[in-house]
């Protein structure tokens, strides 16, 4: 099983939502500072037409006024006129469709289509409107979901060429290149976007890409305003969050807390996701005094539910998260881990397989798949993929592979080999000072011993339960429960 508290989540990375969802978030909003002014000619013309409409209400005039309402932002006017048109008809279908859209009649909503259908539609669209930056980035997203990385990359690069400074396009493009581990390209585009004009959202992304790609960081002070209103804090929340994160890494906890407090005053959804990670992994002491709407982030909510051991809720939120960020391996990783740890390995298999459809080369997902298959007793199924788990350079990932290989060996009745793998994994987690991971490996090892009914299992299982007693990590708690459940009937015999 993988490490769910991945360090890669310690960065403030934008989410790549599809366009129609993204425009509904506050992230892309650039509020007007000056009131939108309508000139006298427009006021007079609308007033005259309203009077004319009152005298002689026709659908044609309603169309005119509905349009004027949309343009000048008079929602009441456009709504009233749309209602009139919807009732009376007598105008072109397109105007009726527009009226329905204003009245929120459902048939206007574009149906959610399968990714293949979406790709085909987007390709057709782009054949006609090849300068649609939004179209290209949407196509890139669809290709990413299909796991067609090269095509996704090409489409994103066209979008970035067409709209190199647009907040949505740049942040989506960067998210893709980070997903593909193409850090240089991610930095190139975000740096290019922020060179000419300052946008706190793009700057925050640039700083995080610089951190990930181990580049020299600019002086954060230059970008963080001193006196800032509550509303402005929202736009700067990712910058303050990133600054807090850097301070934390530098060991300056006091300054980090100060920056986090600022970021959390009016946070973006990404900041909420990151805040949950910080509170869970780095500054748990701040949790009590922090008031954040975690339900704005599916990732944060999944974790909170998981830590509260509300497994069903955690699983259903993880599923929503999968749908929101289908290009990412992380929701699949977390979902399959939770399912397997909660004793639902079949579900873990399904989730890992879904993730592999999108990311067919992700070794972490293969590890989860093998683990879930082995826990579900499908050794032949695991055999098909086990060769993908390589032990290379002593990273955390290797240790997880080692543990899974240990379970595989147990299932193949190679108990000695299995023990060797497990014990090595446990030792290495201990050496790395990761008690929760050490405990998880130990409990998994004990489970393998119990399931293999080795002569040593009672002692190993009881010792594992004793050693891991009191640990709060949900993986440990759930694995302990699994072990206890397996052990109880055996002890009664």
């Amino acid at each position: 099983m993988n490490n769910l508290q991945e360090d890669s989540r310690k960065h403030v990375i934008p989410k790549w939502l599809e366009y129609r969802k993204a425009v509904g978030t506050r992230e892309l909003v650039v509020p007007r500072k000056i009131h939108f002014e309508i000139n006298a000619a427009t006021k007079e013309s609308i007033k005259t037409d309203i009077e004319e409409f009152k005298e002689n209400p026709t659908s044609e005039m309603a169309c005119r006024l509905m349009g004027a309402g949309i343009i000048i932002g008079d929602n009441q006017l456009s709504h009233n006129m749309a209602a009139f048109i919807a009732d009376r008809g007598g105008v072109d279908t397109l105007s009726i469709k527009l009226a329905d859209k204003i009245l929120n009649v459902a048939h206007n909503a574009e149906p959610v289509s399968e990714v293949d259908v979406r790709i085909s539609k987007l390709r057709k669209w782009l054949l006609e409107y090849h300068r649609s930056a939004i179209g290209w980035i949407e196509l890139s997203r669809a290709f990413t979901i299909k796991g067609q990385k090269e095509k996704a990359k090409r489409a994103a690069m066209i979008a970035l060429q067409l709209a190199p400074h647009d907040r949505y396009i740049v942040r989506c493009g960067v998210r893709l290149f980070l997903h593909l581990n193409d850090f240089d390209r991610a930095f190139y585009y975000v740096n290019k976007a922020s060179k000419d004009h300052f946008d706190p959202w793009i700057k925050a992304t640039e700083i995080n890409v610089a951190i990930i790609s181990e580049r020299k960081l600019p002086d954060m002070k230059k970008f963080l305003p001193r006196n800032i209103s509550h509303n402005e804090l929202f736009d700067f929340s990712e910058l303050f969050e990133s600054s807090g994160s850097l301070e934390l890494d530098a060991g300056n906890d006091k300054k980090a807390r100060k920056q986090f407090r600022l970021a959390w005053e009016n946070p973006s959804d990404n900041v909420i996701t990151h805040a949950e990670w910080v509170l869970r992994n780095r500054l748990p002491g701040m949790r009590e005094s922090t008031v954040l709407k975690f339900d704005r982030s599916l990732e944060a909510t999944t974790w909170i539910k998981y830590y509260e051991l509300k497994i069903d809720e955690a699983m259903s939120t993880a599923r929503e998260w999968e749908l929101e960020e289908p290009y990412s391996t992380y929701p699949f990783n977390v979902g399959s881990c939770i399912a397997s740890n909660a004793g639902r390995p079949e579900l873990g298999v399904d989730i890992a397989k879904r993730g592999l459809l999108i990311n067919p080369d992700d070794v972490g997902l293969y590890n989860n798949l093998c683990y879930a298959l082995l826990r579900a007793g499908d050794v032949p199924g695991a055999s098909k993929h086990i060769s993908r788990l390589k032990i290379k350079d002593g990273t955390d990932r290797d240790i997880f592979h080692q543990a899974t290989l240990g379970l595989y060996a147990f299932r193949k009745n190679n108990v000695d080999e299995g023990r060797q793998f497990y014990l090595e994994a446990i030792t290495r987690f201990k050496q790395k000072g990761k008690p929760d991971l050490q405990a998880s490996a130990l409990l998994n090892y004990a489970l393998a011993e119990v399931e293999a009914r080795t002569p040593e299992y009672p002692e190993i299982a009881n010792r594992s339960l004793k050693v891991t007693e009191g640990l709060k990590d949900p993986n440990v708690i759930l694995l302990r429960k699994q072990l206890q459940d397996k052990l109880n009937p055996l002890q009664q015999i």
């Binding site: 509020p31 007079e44 072109d92 647009d166």
Partner: protein, 350 residues
Amino acid sequence: MSDIPLASRLEGLTIENWKVVKKRIKTIDDQSGAFSSGYEVQNIKDGRFGFMKAMNYDYAFKVLKPGKTSTDFMQELTENYNYEKELLELCKEKRMSRIVTAIGHGEYRPPSEIIPVPYLIFEIADGNLQKVKSKKDLTLAWKLGVIHGFLVGLSQLHRQRIVHQDVKPSNVLIFGHNVSKLSDLGNATRYDKKSPMWHRDCHCGDLSYAPIELLYSYYSPNWDTRRLGADLFMAGGIITYLITDSDFLSLLSSNLPDIYKPHSFGGTFEDVKPHIMQAYYKTIDEIKERIDISIRKELIEIISQLTHPIPEERGLPIGKGFYTSLPQYSLNRYISIIDRLSKKYEMTKT
């Protein structure tokens, strides 16, 4: 002296050779503007009817903006009136057949009054496009005829380096069956002699038909791009209106996500371009479906070129695999195509 301004009580009088028959309640059907009153008039010599636009200075003073003296304001109104009058005279001199020209003008001031009433008299139409359209079941041939007419009118203005800047359905007047003419030069301006009301570069007539860039306070420093481009956008808006009953700008705005709509977006035109382009493509795609298949390809091309949201790219796509000796904002090609489509449509229907 009566409390009612003189310009509002001309009914029954005879001014020069014109008998003031009936006062018109201000409707979309006239071109009387904000500070004027409209009357139906009849020439006592030849019996022809006309429409009188009488400047209502009294009313204008009532809505005087703070900080502006009445003398300045009076001067401003007079300058505007004279400017429009001169433009109309030029149109007449240049025989602009598709522009509603003045058939009379003058100033009325009885001895008892201090403030005069300058007036303009125009040929009277059967109605404006908006009104006529709601009454009749119109054929595509009729619509193409109307498009042809007002495009010719606009082109006649452009040839003299005059821009209309308020092209909208109520300013397209219909005479007889489908002879369309452009009316109301109240917002028009000339390249070499700027209208006195054009002290701001972003000025235009009715914003609810204006080119999209003006709603984001973007105006090109180049006169042709800024002014001719604006007229082209509004012309595309009318063609769209004839097909879909909605103006192009309304459809375009409805396809923009709320956060990018002009009344809510605080960024620059440059910032919003990718989103406007997306909405533009969507709008073009929707309109295309509503055009008769026999003329769809050509007409959607015209609409898309006239309404391109980026003024620098509006008009003829010169240098994009398209060669012509015509200038980018010339309407000649569009007029020829509409003429051809009109004939083509007639042929397919017979």
